[in-house]
Symmetry: C2
Subunit: 329 residues, 2 copies
Amino acid sequence: MRIALDAMGSDQAPACEVQGALEALAELEDDVEIVLVGDRSLIEAELERHQPVPERIRVVHAPERVTADDPPASVIRRKPSSSIVVGLRLQQEGEADAFVSAGSTGAVMATSLFTLRPMPGVDRPPVATVLPTAAEPCLLLDAGANVDCKPHHLVQFAHLGSAYVRDMMGKERPRVGLLNIGEEPTKGDELTQETYRLLAREPGIHFVGNVEGRDIIRSAADVVVCDGFVGNVLLKFYESVAGFIVGLLRKELEGREASLDLDRVFRVLDYAETGGAPLLGVCGVAIICHGESPPKAIRNALKAAARAVRSDMVKHSARELAATIKEGS
Amino acid sequence: MRIALDAMGSDQAPACEVQGALEALAELEDDVEIVLVGDRSLIEAELERHQPVPERIRVVHAPERVTADDPPASVIRRKPSSSIVVGLRLQQEGEADAFVSAGSTGAVMATSLFTLRPMPGVDRPPVATVLPTAAEPCLLLDAGANVDCKPHHLVQFAHLGSAYVRDMMGKERPRVGLLNIGEEPTKGDELTQETYRLLAREPGIHFVGNVEGRDIIRSAADVVVCDGFVGNVLLKFYESVAGFIVGLLRKELEGREASLDLDRVFRVLDYAETGGAPLLGVCGVAIICHGESPPKAIRNALKAAARAVRSDMVKHSARELAATIKEGS
């Protein structure tokens, strides 16, 4: 198995990516290779600092770098030698099985759509994110790839999320909830009211009804579907609240931190533990990390990518969607 | 000044309301009276436990009680002797200046619309909620009264929020942000893209642009406007995350809590501190509290109601909206 890693994506690239890749290799099976994609001289200079470098690391040169100013949809045309385009092309051409990047989310999404292509039955591939909760983690999707969704998009998200949780978290029958502002079927806006009706009769989905903002953290569902607007607002809010509260506490505990291991207490809230946000519904594995990712987040995203490849997540998702199309026809 | 308090609203009614009313009176100016509205025998039994009862407490009998099963819009017709309808009628008839309730949010909203009536220029009165942040609190609206909003509704929310923050928090020129999923003007869904264009040229609004989920806690704006769907999801999520984290910590600190005053650290996160959610854009003062409100929340909501009456918040809001209508015509 070969995973292509965008070595130029994070704010601390390529040091952070190189470190994360080495940490991942130490934990992953022997058949996993990591291809660092980016500026060869920068990457090799960084690798120099980690001698001896394992043989399972390779470098593929990609001299261009995507910035926040590049319009995402034009990256594939305007920066064909960027680490994002080169990395995804490797997968498109069968030279890699997965792609991980902490670069521009928009550029990774847009380029994935052009190279990996959406699965049949998927109109708008969603980005999923794993939210820490009081019990099992919850997969929230869409976390920001698609706004102004229609009800049938959310039904597709439900299938993709179920297939992902089944393969990646080992749950046979993931509970699917619809993010809403009340429990009753008639609650919500036009989108959620109609989506509720569709999900309630959708074969292959274990629909547990509406979940409210407060239910996510109580682990009321394994998969929560929503429009990408609300999903993205929620995700960014969660990260900031967790950081804010940890900050409040650190200040309070100043000078006596030894008595309380905050890092351990809050590991449950740490997005870096969850291994990035997968783009689902495309014919391949693409995982997007924060620009601020530490090496640990890169390591966990690489491990998630390996798990997705190993479990045949993409094939299972495609099969689930194909069944939907057949039923619908 | 006279504030009508629904004594039958909270989960621990009327004990919680009576306690909150007494605490509020101890802190409010001498000209404030509180009218407890609800089942007279239950309220008087509760007052018995707090002898001597101040003269500034009165009881108005309202034998019916609104439950979660009552369709909100029909409460005014079907339960005219309920504490919600009687309490709001007192204000409609000039017998009270404000109404506070921890009862059914939907019923308080619907009955307020029928009795207090929307202001000219307000199509859909929003519920506002004060979110604790790292610095000054942030007023988020709409927090759940209206879904499927149109851009001009959000512009009305911006005016109502500005007027409220000006009078209630003493900020001359409140910064108004639009909740969105990116900073740039072109980001977002159809609603936010068009709302951005309107807010950017709206007279009387100090528009600071888009704010993301993560910006709220950083206190990037004094007023944040959004559709009631996303506002409600966010609000409920916030409350649950704060509770979840405090729970994690309490567990960790078991046995040695003396060393860390969690209540003090987290007072900033405590919604009970913020005094309930005002329904804005109606010709009167109506403040809605959580069903789970402790007496402290009732006390703070009563104090907020008194401040709203004292500052002539309703008149100022109406004037701001009237100016908008004039400009628009």
